[in-house]
């Protein structure tokens, strides 16, 4: 299609560009500006400090610990939520009784706000008021995520993964249903068992979906699990469940350290850009687009 006016295409693009500028570029630019300044909470005094904020952040041993926690957390959430979702999707895709109800139920958790999901988890796992938490203690197991860092990390990983399983499930199911039946039938006739069929046909044909979900889940684990962590552990005990995004919030909003917080969010931005670039460069090559 061609346009008579040279202006029209730009005009049509303008709303999208405006949204990007206002909601993405502007805040990002502000973060970069803040990250090289030292400012009091009310913004009355401001001093240009070069890269001092970055220096503080990167030489803080606690920051490196937080980075480690984030890596463990993100990888665990991605693997767990994708693995579980794929398994459930494969099962739901086969001919079973009540498949519709089963599918609908699996999609439900996605409709919950992260904070609400976290509160539900708390009612299950809190050592004093949670049903399961109390049961564990009654059995003599020393369950207390408020003091045991490992247990706390396990719990936020479970809660964050559970939330994302539903989302992954929808995409995997759609991906599975898009695989031509004829290919599967041909493989069956050739004598391939279910496992073989899955490994040589289903999984490769699902790879665009898998790749998409990998990117989305990583971003989810990095950025959107904030509500879950905030409601469940607030980053504690110690700093056992503090992820990078939680620390950005904590330093910026609770501690009023806008410079340090912005420096961290710039670092986070770089990490995610790098991660996505790596994924597109190396993993996408292995993706088979049907």
């Amino acid at each position: 299609m061609t346009f008579d006016s040279r202006l029209l295409p730009y005009l049509l693009l303008a709303p999208q560009v405006a949204v990007t500028l206002v909601f993405f570029i502007w805040p990002a630019a502000q973060a970069v500006w803040q990250s090289v300044h030292l400012q009091d909470a009310f913004g009355i005094r401001s001093e240009f400090v070069w890269f001092e904020n970055f220096e503080h952040v990167l030489t803080d041993p606690n920051y490196l610990d937080t980075l480690k926690v984030t890596v463990v957390f993100s990888v665990a959430v991605t693997v767990l939520s994708m693995g579980t979702a794929l398994l459930l999707a494969v099962l739901a895709d086969s001919k079973i009784k009540g498949a519709r109800a089963y599918k609908t139920l699996l999609i439900w958790p996605y409709a919950l706000a992260p904070a609400v999901a976290a509160v539900l988890w708390m009612f299950i796992f809190n050592p004093d008021i949670g049903s399961f938490g109390r049961a564990l203690r009654a059995l003599g197991y020393d369950w207390d995520y408020r003091l045991n860092g490992g247990q706390a990390l396990w719990m936020v990983i479970m809660a964050a993964s559970w939330k994302q399983v539903a989302y992954n499930f929808i995409f995997f199911l759609a991906g599975l249903q898009a695989i031509p039946r004829s290919v599967m039938e041909a493989a069956s006739i050739d004598g391939a068992g279910p496992v073989r069929r899955f490994l040589t046909i289903t999984f490769p044909l699902l790879s665009p979906t898998t790749f998409f979900l990998l990117v989305v889940d990583m971003v989810y684990a990095f950025f959107e699990t904030f509500g879950t962590i905030h409601a469940l552990t607030q980053g504690g005990p110690g700093k056992a469940t503090e992820t990078l995004i939680f620390r950005v919030y904590h330093d910026g909003v609770v501690n009023n350290d806008l410079g340090g917080s912005s420096a961290q969010s710039v670092i986070l931005m770089v990490i995610v850009i790098a991660l996505t670039a790596v994924q597109f460069r190396f993993i996408e090559r292995k993706v088979h687009y049907a």
């Binding site: 909470a41 009355i44 005094r45 001093e47 005990p237």
Partner: protein
């Protein structure tokens, strides 16, 4: 199907309706009354009680209309006020928790000090009417009142009288010192209690109050009152001994760490923990929920660190700050001062105290509650005020004036948690807390000097 046309119409209609509703009460009031925005951080039921106080003020006169709105918990209210100030749109009055005091005082032109407001508007205001521990917390170095104290609390001990009875302890003689405290927890444990003792607000109760009661600095420069260059002193022998005691008690099952800030509150009214150190405000919840006999007592002290007896405790809670904005008019400041004069009345103070469990902030309010027989009907309700006023305030029991105190509290809680997990001992935890806390203080000093 929702077409774009329909959507546009709907949006238009919704906006018009919203504008209409917004305009109706506003226009009626704007002609006759000065409208004051007041942001607060008290959730229900306290928030409703505070809004009732505001309503009583609005009904008491014709000239001023105060609009109270809840902006989330204290930290969120603080953030909202800061963001609003940056946008040139600050509320007239904001309720700020006590740990935000240093931040507000360093805010310079963003805040109008209360003494100045009252002077400029010619309102009668007697700063000395306030309880010294309250006045001190919100006064500048030269003794000028910067904010209007309103809802103040202190930390006290609540104990389960039934559990005391069962353990063979005298239910009318709560432990007064830490050695007695440890003895009591041992007996409680022997009688089957799984949680003899816990603490809410671990840092406020076990550090800030501990320092004040034992006349020991929490930080140098008179707890920060004398300058931004203060350094933490929580690695002093008193704190090390205290934290090591808590760690040892936890190992023996005599003490239970129940989480940060006020998370452990629930453990006492539910009957799980026999003793708790918590905000005096826990009283109203305990009255409502507890199904056992309970009592209130002052915080215990270490005799070897308090040779001439324990000093007064410090306050917590919040105060009202007046914020500036390019748009302010003298009439608005005048209206704020009227509102504040109303809040400072002894009868308003006493009523708020008796309705909510916060301490009275004025001596007259305290006496009024006494005269009305409140403490005879509610034994133990005078413990926090008595503890706050039992001695004249010292340099170490005036309160704290430290920048980013919420962050310092978190750092100490993190180090405590690591110690309770067995990763470090008391000395290591406190050394590390001092080091990290000082970095926070230096940052605040740099950002706020000049």
């Amino acid at each position: 199907m929702l077409t774009r046309r329909k959507l546009a119409l709907l949006t238009g209609a919704a906006t018009t309706t919203a504008l209409l509703f917004a305009a109706l009460p506003g226009s009626a009031l704007a002609q006759s009354k000065t409208v004051i925005d007041f942001w607060h951080g008290l959730p229900q039921p306290l928030g409703g009680q505070l809004e009732q106080v505001v309503k009583d003020f609005n009904d008491s006169q014709q000239a001023v209309q105060v609009n109270a709105s809840y902006k989330g918990a204290y930290p969120e209210t603080m953030q909202a006020a800061i963001a609003a100030f940056r946008a040139g749109n600050a509320p007239h009055v904001v309720q700020m928790f006590e740990v935000g005091t240093a931040t507000m005082m360093a805010a310079g032109p963003a805040v109008k000090p209360v003494y100045q407001l009252m002077q400029e508007t010619g309102a009668a205001f007697d700063a000395d009417a306030y309880i010294p521990a309250v006045k001190g917390y919100y006064s500048s170095k030269d003794g000028k009142m910067m904010a209007l104290p309103f809802n103040s609390s202190s930390t006290i001990m609540f104990y389960n009288k039934d559990a005391f009875q069962k353990a063979g302890l005298d239910p009318n003689k709560p432990p007064a010192t830490w050695p007695e405290m440890i003895e009591a927890t041992k007996k409680l444990k022997a009688s089957g209690s799984t949680c003899p003792f816990t603490t809410s607000w671990p840092v406020w109760a076990q550090f800030e109050q501990l320092g004040a009661i034992h006349n020991t600095p929490f930080a140098s420069q008179a707890n920060g009152f004398d300058g931004l260059n203060a350094e933490l002193k929580v690695d002093a022998p008193l704190f090390v001994k205290h934290v090591q005691t808590l760690i040892d008690m936890q190992k023996e099952g005599l003490f239970k760490y129940g989480g940060r800030d006020n998370k452990p509150d629930a453990l006492f009214p539910s009957g799980e923990c026999a003793m708790i150190h918590g905000s005096s405000g826990l009283r109203s919840r305990t009255t409502k929920e507890a199904t056992f006999a309970w009592g209130a007592a002052p915080l215990p002290y270490w005799p070897e660190f308090a040779k001439d007896g324990p000093k007064n405790s410090i306050i917590g809670g919040a105060a009202f700050w007046v914020m500036t904005s390019p748009k302010r008019t003298p009439a608005e400041y005048k209206a704020v001062s009227q509102f504040f004069s109303y809040l400072a009345r002894p009868e308003v103070d006493a009523k708020w105290h008796m309705d909510t469990g916060y301490v009275p902030v004025t001596m007259k309010g305290f006496e009024l509650a006494k005269a009305q027989g409140y403490y005879e009907k509610n034994p133990g309700a005078d413990v926090p005020a008595a503890q706050l006023t039992r001695t004249p305030t010292t340099e170490n029991s005036m309160g704290l004036r430290l920048g980013n105190l919420p962050e310092i509290r978190n750092i100490i809680q993190e180090e405590l948690e690591k110690a309770f997990q067995g990763q470090q001992d008391a000395k290591q935890a406190l050394d590390s807390a001092v080091k990290r806390g000082n970095a926070v203080l230096r940052n605040f000093e740099r950002a706020n000097k000049g």
